[in-house]
Symmetry: C2
Subunit: 366 residues, 2 copies
């Protein structure tokens, strides 16, 4: 059967490329790698990913439960803030809980005494090129930064999470920032048993110096006597998935426009939030089109791309690199048909794991 | 029972204020008013709204079905593009179908021959202050603008939809733009039986000159012999709803920060997309706080507000004006607890119409 577009298509053979790099990094460095569910939480491929990763990390009760129940292995709980009524359930699903603030630690340390406890540190530097996503932005609420304030709570915690990389594909920048972190937080790191360096490090990208990265992590671990964790989100799933769409209409308004049966706002939200273009491949050819979504939003535009042939209604357009921060943010804006989720198995067969119906739309409201 | 935050709270007594203005406008002007489901589709209050409005308009198959089944009365179908496999079902739910392009009209006119057919016109001017939301932006895909191209298809259509107002609270601007539309499209308007002037006109706002607006609509209707439609979205539900949140943590990072149990990206997405601040009321007092969401996003910030008292964990913060383009776009980013939906009835009682569970989160993926 041929699945109707739109659908997200996760290709396990492409996912495998990332997974093998993750596994190799773990082996070389001794660091453990936890999938960041905030980026990717499509649990039908967790059985596959579990062989290559140590577990998951989370940013809410829902995510920590999903990680625990669907992925298993090691489960980290982090959240900017937990509510009183949810903390016990969070603890029940986690091996380790990382509080965002001393305030949250004070509030919940006792109720989390049965598991490993940690604290988020904010080094005040980051690799983010977007203020919106910069954890080190002025007045950031993400983590504690004052060594003098943290030292008195060391009796209740055994480690730290420091997440200040964002889509960082530059090893030297990572290296320099880690150096700054060491200078700044050495007194704390020396007393820690574990340190998570968070996500945002694009170490599965092409030409990333995996060996140097592994060596740096190993050296850091040795220097402070800590177990290092990484929390790869995008790095785990990069280039593994497409959003499959179909051309519904063609217009000529000074440019050639192709309207597809999807929407950036509904299905690839970060393109809208960060004002970025989608990726198409190949993107060479004589026929340039602006590829537009079908929502009412004037700016619902995937980007302008060069096609080999003139497009016609019914043509397939595959939006590349559609795994990270897409399915976890999809929404019913305009009631646009929700993309199904399908998996291309290693043998090439495509298996549909979720289709969305009118009932799903209707019950998203009330 | 006290409902756990976060939740959207729709207050019927406040909704009633808008509904009475809508009803008055209809009476004064003869125009018909259709609720724009893309803005607000919480169907539990449709029974209430139905008494004051003529029906609904839609931007997809899902929306037109919801309008038909849950609201009833007159049902307009519009979409930037329909797919072949859905057009028959769209037609089955609609009284009127408005095509976005001549291409779509050519493709589907026959299959829609049993209902009233129309076309979207783009006058090339708008009141939008956001390029993202501006239907008249360069290369816009929204509607036909060339009279010479439209004239030959008049045998298949009987009216038009023109939507070029966006949060327009300025009657004089509306009046001037309608004048331009008349100049530009007079040959088409004279042959039409109905014209929808779309949404985006903030005629339920305080001090809006409702009588002058009604007179202008009536004059337009008379001049061309058309039934006028309006498609109020925000105007229908403005100021009717709050997003109820609770303070989970307080931090001092150069500013006083309060973290609440919600997230702009997950629950009030337009604040993020348009980089706007939420509204709080009252917003006067000696104690200034930056109110932040609990997602991992550094820029998940509702805004800075002045409170009467120092905040403490557990305090309630009510985000104002949370009906439009919020519930229809809510999503599971970070797995943040999805706000319930509750209605304050006219007698003051609060009725919860939808709560979301872990199972809802888990089945949003697969």
């Amino acid at each position: 059967m041929s699945l109707t577009t739109p659908y997200y298509l996760i290709d396990k053979s492409k996912l495998l490329i990332n997974m093998e790099k993750v596994a190799r990094l773990r082996e070389l460095s001794g660091a453990r790698a936890l999938l960041a569910l905030k980026c990717f939480a499509t649990w039908s491929v967790f059985d596959f990913m579990r062989e290559y990763m140590d577990g998951t990390t989370s940013s809410s009760l829902n995510e920590v439960r999903l990680g625990h129940e669907r992925f298993g292995k090691e489960t980290h709980a982090y959240s900017v803030a937990y509510a009183d009524y949810e903390i016990d359930e969070v603890v029940s699903h986690a091996d380790k809980i990382i509080f965002n603030s001393i305030g949250q630690l004070d509030r919940f340390a006792d109720r989390a005494a049965g598991i490993v406890r940690g604290l988020r540190l904010n080094p005040g530097i980051s690799s983010s090129s977007f203020d919106l996503a910069d954890p080190a932005r002025p007045f950031s609420r993400l983590g504690e930064w004052d060594v003098k304030k943290v030292e008195p709570v060391m009796d209740r915690i055994s480690g730290f999470m420091i997440h200040n990389n964002c889509e960082n594909g530059d090893f030297d920048l990572f290296d320099r920032m880690l150096g700054t972190i060491e200078e700044k937080f050495a007194p704390l790191l020396k007393r820690a048993e574990w340190v998570s360096l968070g996500g945002g490090i694009h170490f599965t990208g092409e030409n990333y110096p995996l060996e140097k990265f592994a060596e740096r992590l190993k050296r850091f671990a040795g220097e402070y006597g800590v177990q290092v964790y990484l929390e790869p989100g995008e790095a785990s799933i990069t280039k593994s998935t497409t959003l499959e769409t179909t051309v519904l209409d063609l217009l000529d308004n000074g440019k050639h426009l192709a309207v597809v049966d999807s929407s950036i706002e509904a299905h690839m939200l970060d393109l809208l939030i960060y004002r970025e273009n989608a990726k198409l491949s190949p993107n060479t050819g004589q026929h340039r089109y602006m590829v537009c979504g079908k929502s009412c939003l004037a700016g619902d535009i995937f980007g302008e791309f060069d096609f080999e042939k003139e497009l016609k209604v019914g043509d397939r357009i595959s939006i590349q690199d559609a795994a990270g921060y897409t399915m976890v943010k999809k929404n019913w804006f305009n009631g646009v048909k929700m993309p199904a989720i399908a998996i291309r198995e290693l043998d090439g067969n495509i298996r549909t794991v979720r289709e969305f119906s009118y009932a799903d739309y209707e019950t998203s409201l009330s």
